[in-house]
Symmetry: C2
Subunit: 335 residues, 2 copies
């Protein structure tokens, strides 16, 4: 297997560089074709490395002094903070010293920095963030989940191509079913945007487009790739988090509400825990920003070491499957 | 208490006129100021009434021969089917013979028919469908949940006024917290639509606008009224159904997966059932179409007799609280 070289922004996540360093060390130990370069505050990174044993040939540290935070304007921050871990790591990848970039930092910063510094694949109008959601059967890939809050119909058509290529490289499956998230199953339903997108999707005969996906069908397992504008996708992502967390906590409160059900709760604990694992974003790694010349993966802001390690592995799988190459081939076919 | 006169479309729901008739008879028995007129196929309605005892003075039947279905163009159907239960009942209300109209039929038909036949309140640009969702604390009112898939910023501002008036007439509460559903909590976040709507909402000092509601906060109980365009609201409505049904069925499957947790499941059954009741749309009745001169309530398509009875009661509460009057007062204040 070829070398996989990944540039890592250690300063982005809510839990600080320590979990990123932990993730990197664990990933190096488990996969011997990984070569990692960590960007961030040197003192914190060295402290996190202290006492850990790892292959020093495959782990480099690049000291940076600035951090792009969630509450600043992405474009302004990318321009002003030349010595931020985000900007330095992106240029490192741009110069061909890494094959992928991963960060748990500001979504806006990663989107803007990734697009400006690494550049889009020729022909791609807008890159899209994509992530897997659990269903009753196999996971479903939804995009865009937040890169383009205002989208045009032709973006949605390209999201379908990007998503299909990514799905294709991730799961060994033929007949990938691509759908459009819409407020009704019937072809004539929708907003001005989804109606126009429907026409474009239906006209592309290579796509495997199977029609509208009603929101109550998203988790049915009857679709593989679901496209929508970034506002809608971000809604789904965040709403799913809020609603499932309320249901789980209300279930727990109901179980704790009396002695009998408390006892019952002990008996079902293990089964419920296994089930809840299906809803754990950690095992899905991060969300790739599809459509750029170099791979960018956005890890969840609150990633722990396990989640971040899975985001690193996601880079590795993405590169091994040559998903960027597949996107280019599909774009050429669509023309 | 004054007479409450309601025109009922018996032909709309998935379960047919029988559940509507059952609901009407039960409502008449429990509330003696109700006067109901049922529109629909006479033979079916009479068959459903057969053997039931009820106050014949307060229940009229108007025989109609046509039905507006879900899969025809609403505007075309309203024009063509003059003898449909929907159109006849709406004209009955228009002529002042009923104070409200309720149907479990085609959302498009009810919206179009309601707006064309009954007319908007002066100054209202678009009526909105509103419904309550459970939260960790008190319910939250979300609108628009599907009447306006393409909305303008000024519609969202009016939705806030409509929603606040409805909330106000439903729950005795001061300091109603009105928020805008958006893809981020910060004021500068959002799509072109939500950014512009934010400005309008923030500028209306009578509104009690408290800012953006991130989708993960919708069920937090920290907001009373949430506004959004009809595409987003319809997404939330249908996605909540799909996701919660998946979680409940996966939970059940997990509990049934082995003997120990099956036993535990018996112990927690009652507590879980009580909890799941919180998520049951039936107790919330239907969704009023706010902003029309005469009240229109859309009951869930799959309403059973209990759900439909609650939709009838909802009409009654709405009228007793004079919510249409409150909307007019608030509109006058906002000018």
């Amino acid at each position: 297997m070829n070398k996989i070289r990944i540039a890592i922004d250690a300063m982005g996540g809510d839990l600080g560089p320590q979990v990123v360093v932990e993730a990197a060390v664990a990933a190096l130990e488990e996969k011997n074709n990984l070569f990692l370069t960590i960007f961030g505050e040197e003192v914190q990174i060295q402290a996190a490395l202290n006492g850990k044993s790892y292959d020093q040939e495959r782990l480099q540290i690049v000291a940076t002094t600035e951090v792009v935070s969630n509450d600043e304007s992405p474009t302004g921050a990318i321009r002003a903070k030349k010595d931020s871990s985000l900007v330095r790591a992106l240029y490192f990848a741009k110069e061909g010293k890494a094959d992928a970039f991963v960060s748990a930092g500001s979504t806006g910063g990663i989107l803007t920095g990734g697009t400006l510094i690494l550049g889009r694949i020729k022909g791609i109008k807008r890159p899209a963030l994509a992530t897997f959601f659990p269903t009753r059967k196999e996971p479903i890939l939804i995009l865009d989940i937040g890169a383009n809050v205002d989208s045009k119909p032709e973006y949605l058509h390209q999201f379908a191509i990007l998503g299909k290529a990514y799905y294709n490289g991730t799961f060994p499956k033929t007949n990938i079913r691509v759908g459009l998230i819409n407020n009704g199953a019937e072809a004539h339903k929708g907003s001005a945007l989804t109606k126009a997108a429907y026409e474009l999707l239906a006209a592309d005969k290579n796509l495997g487009f199977v029609g509208n996906i009603e929101p109550r069908e998203i988790h049915s397992g009857n679709y593989d790739v679901a496209v929508c504008d970034g506002f809608t996708g971000n809604m789904i992502l965040k709403y799913a988090e809020g609603l499932s967390s309320m249901i789980f906590s209300e279930t727990k409160a109901a179980i704790m509400s009396n002695a009998l059900s408390k006892l019952g709760g002990l008996f079902i604990k293990k089964s419920l825990k296994q089930m809840a694992g299906k809803f754990d974003y950690k095992k899905y790694g991060g969300a790739p920003l599809l459509g750029l010349e170099t791979l960018v993966v956005k890890a969840h802001g609150s990633s722990d070491a396990l989640a971040f390690k899975n985001a690193i592995y996601q880079c590795s799988r993405f590169l091994e499957a040559d998903i960027t190459g597949e996107i280019k081939r599909m774009l050429a076919d669509a023309e």
